[in-house]
Amino acid sequence: MMENTMETASADNAFSTFHLGASLFGINRLEIQEINKNVEITQVPHPSDYIKGIINLRGQIVTIIDLGRKLGLNPVRKHTDNKNIIVHSENEHIGLLVDAIHDVVHATPHDIEPAPSNIGEIKGKYLQGVLKNENHLIGILNTTEILKD
């Protein structure tokens, strides 16, 4: 684990991490409303193929985005481990569909390093940077960019 034993584990310093294919990514916990198991998604025919559909979240209609597709990676493969990460964005909630949830990682924004150029096919603007955690490289996502329509 990182140097978090010395720091107070506050939401500021926590990142929810998850899998997309073989890669690990993270989102600042402050941006996350909740994480849901994959409920039944109503398909919506849409010009963008990364829009998976919409769900009913306690009376609110929430758009679900296939984060794999959006980032230019493989689409999220249907599995019982799939989860929707519900984030705040402007004045609505949007769900990001991911392959599986991983641990919460404690780190400060300070620890985020610039992404190396060989991070793969992901557009640079979608990444704030990377976090090194044990042997893993976690791509920290810029949700504002990702959720731009």
């Binding site: 829009i51 209609i61 929430v62």
Partner: protein, 582 residues
């Protein structure tokens, strides 16, 4: 709850949002709401108890009570948002004064029904359109005092604005005693033309309608019909594939179900598009599954499983087709041979109710069309919910709703769907079919042909009007008399022949049954033995009369990618029975 529950269907002007952040509500409503809330608490307790103790009866009773209380709440809350129209209507007075002065006319305004109430949001939203309509009325409807006196009217023009309830809707009637408005010219009138289409569009966004009734020289009546509330709309639920789609009741005209055996009569084609004939009118058809890219499904009645419906074509190949080509606009009639040919109907795999075509006839603005869906379900009152910003780009949908089972259904935007599909408006379709039917009366543009085969790869055709009828007989019934063949038919003998007797083609292989095309020559009949399949085609005749010319064969043409030989019936008859034809 501060947040408005209305979604993409209603987007009031920003200015109104900012000005009226509070409303006056009669205390009586608040008392009713308190009582209902109390009732709800009691029923909720009863429900919880019923569920935890497994008491079905208690659960049933409380669910009924909650049903009634919910309706009461819905009604009461809606009423708290209702405001009298007085203030808005009275604002028309200065508008009329100013406008009439500006254009040099004299107009008297009478306002009735100020006490009629309307939902606050709709009220705010309708103010501008109403003003537009009144201004337009003064500018284009009411004549100048001079003109009025010349036609025997009083110099002062009259405009009456009356608000009233009718059939669950609020009506605003704007009547004038002016010159009458030409509906087609409204959109062409300078300046105000564009505003009026905007007005109509706006009213429809509110879920309302605009009706116009005008008499030249007498006056015009414009009626605006508005729903009582925006957030909850009655709708027709339809099903395509595995998803449900709601059609707002205000757009729904009727529901049609065309059983399979009527498809070829009622569904026709105009160019590439499918259309349905409804009480003499042709309506464009929009296949929702095709538009949304969803695989159609149907439920197999025997196994109950949901299967994919692989039919690609809606219209039967025997359906009537209209050509869209204006120069050669002729209706290609594909006559019904089913009466004469062997009975293939029973072998038709597309039978059963599951394959009937389900159509919701909808209209919005200038568009009226039939929406093809997999299933038609119940009519339901639904709560309109806004969709997220990524989906606002999908113009096909006006919002979403949450169904009783918690799943989401999308609400169709009937007007946008039509535009996206590139449908012709109703007047356009009428014009096209009128053109098409008018040119059908041109002689000799296209010829209807009957096609058949001799041997496997030989295709023949003959003009359809020379064909008397088609028969199918048992080969065993054919009698040979000398060199000639006949078959006993209706008390007489029908002479038979085949093409190999006259032209350089191979003879037919004997089979158990024989198809016969019967021609009438003078007052005699001749049966030509042929091979199926027989079909019809309607084409411009372009016969190559030299290359493959032979006795009884006029020439050839290319039909459906095959070289087809045109049979000369008269020559055929002359060759077989020279004594018939002098």
């Amino acid at each position: 709850m501060a947040q408005t529950s209305s979604g993409t269907i209603n987007e009031p002007d920003d200015t109104n949002d900012r000005t009226n952040a509070s409303i006056r509500v009669h205390v009586g409503f608040l008392d009713t709401l308190m009582t209902l809330a109390g009732e709800l608490v009691l029923s909720r307790n009863q429900l919880l108890q019923g569920v935890t103790t497994g008491n079905l009866r208690a659960t049933e009773i409380s669910s009924q009570r909650i049903d009634m209380i919910t309706s009461g709440l819905q009604e009461t809350i809606m009423k708290t948002r209702m405001q009298p129209m007085a203030k808005m209507l009275n604002r028309l007075n200065p508008v009329v004064r100013d406008q009439s002065q500006q254009v040099g006319k004299s107009v008297a305004l009478v306002i009735e029904g100020s006490e009629v109430e309307l939902d606050k949001t709709i009220l705010e939203s309708i103010s501008n359109p109403l003003t537009q309509l009144v201004k337009n009325c003064i500018a284009h409807g009411i004549e100048t005092p001079g003109e009025r006196e010349r036609t025997g009217k009083k110099a002062i023009g009259n405009i009456r604005v009356r608000a009233f309830h009718d059939a669950g809707q609020v009506n605003i009637l704007i009547s004038d005693d002016g010159n009458g408005l030409d509906p087609l010219n409204i959109t062409n009138a300078s300046g105000n033309g564009a505003d009026l289409t905007g007005v109509v569009a706006h009213i429809e966004t509110l879920g309302g309608l605009l009706e116009l009734d005008s008499k030249k020289g007498v006056g015009t009546d414009i009626t605006i019909k508005l729903p009582l509330t925006l957030a909850i709309i009655p709708s027709q639920i339809t099903c395509v594939g595995r998803e449900r789609y709601a059609v707002p009741q205000v757009n729904l005209d009727e529901l049609l179900r065309i059983p399979l055996d009527q498809v070829k009569e009622r569904i026709e084609k105009v160019g590439d598009a499918n259309v349905v004939r409804l009480r003499g009118e042709l309506l464009p058809l929009l296949d929702l599954s095709q538009m949304l890219g969803i695989e159609k499904k149907y439920v197999d009645l025997t196994t109950g499983t949901t299967l994919a419906d692989r039919r690609k074509h809606i219209a039967d190949r025997r359906s009537k087709r209209h050509s869209l080509n204006k120069e050669a606009a002729v209706i290609e009639r594909v006559p019904d041979l089913a009466l004469k040919l062997p009975d293939r109907a029973s072998k038709d795999r597309r039978s059963g109710t599951r394959n009937a075509v389900n159509i919701a006839v909808v209209s919005a603005g200038a568009y009226t069309y039939g929406l093809i869906v997999d299933q038609l379900q119940d009519s339901e009152e639904i709560v309109v919910k806004p969709v997220g910003r990524h989906l606002k780009r999908c113009l096909a949908f006006a919002g979403a709703t949450i169904m009783g089972d918690g799943k989401v259904a999308l609400i169709l935007d009937i007007s946008n769907l039509a535009q996206i599909a590139g449908l012709s408006t109703l007047p356009e379709v009428r014009q096209l079919t009128a053109d098409s039917e008018a040119s059908m009366h041109h002689e000799g543009s296209k010829t209807a042909l009957l096609t058949f085969k001799n041997s496997e790869n030989e295709y023949f055709a003959v003009p359809l009007d020379s064909v008397e009828r088609i028969e199918r007989i048992q080969t065993a019934a054919i009698e040979q008399i000398g060199e000639r063949k006949v078959v006993q038919y209706k008390g007489g003998a029908l002479p038979l022949c085949q093409l190999s007797q006259v032209a350089d083609v191979p003879p037919l292989t004997p089979k158990e049954h024989q198809e016969i095309v019967v021609f009438k020559i003078k007052d005699r009949e001749l049966g030509l033995m042929v091979n199926p399949p027989m079909d019809t085609a309607s084409v411009f005749l372009e016969i190559d009369a030299t290359t493959l010319r032979q006795p009884a064969i006029k020439g050839s043409m290319i039909l459906h990618n095959h070289t087809t030989l045109m049979v000369d019936v008269l020559e055929l008859a002359r060759a077989i029975h020279p004594e018939w034809v002098q």
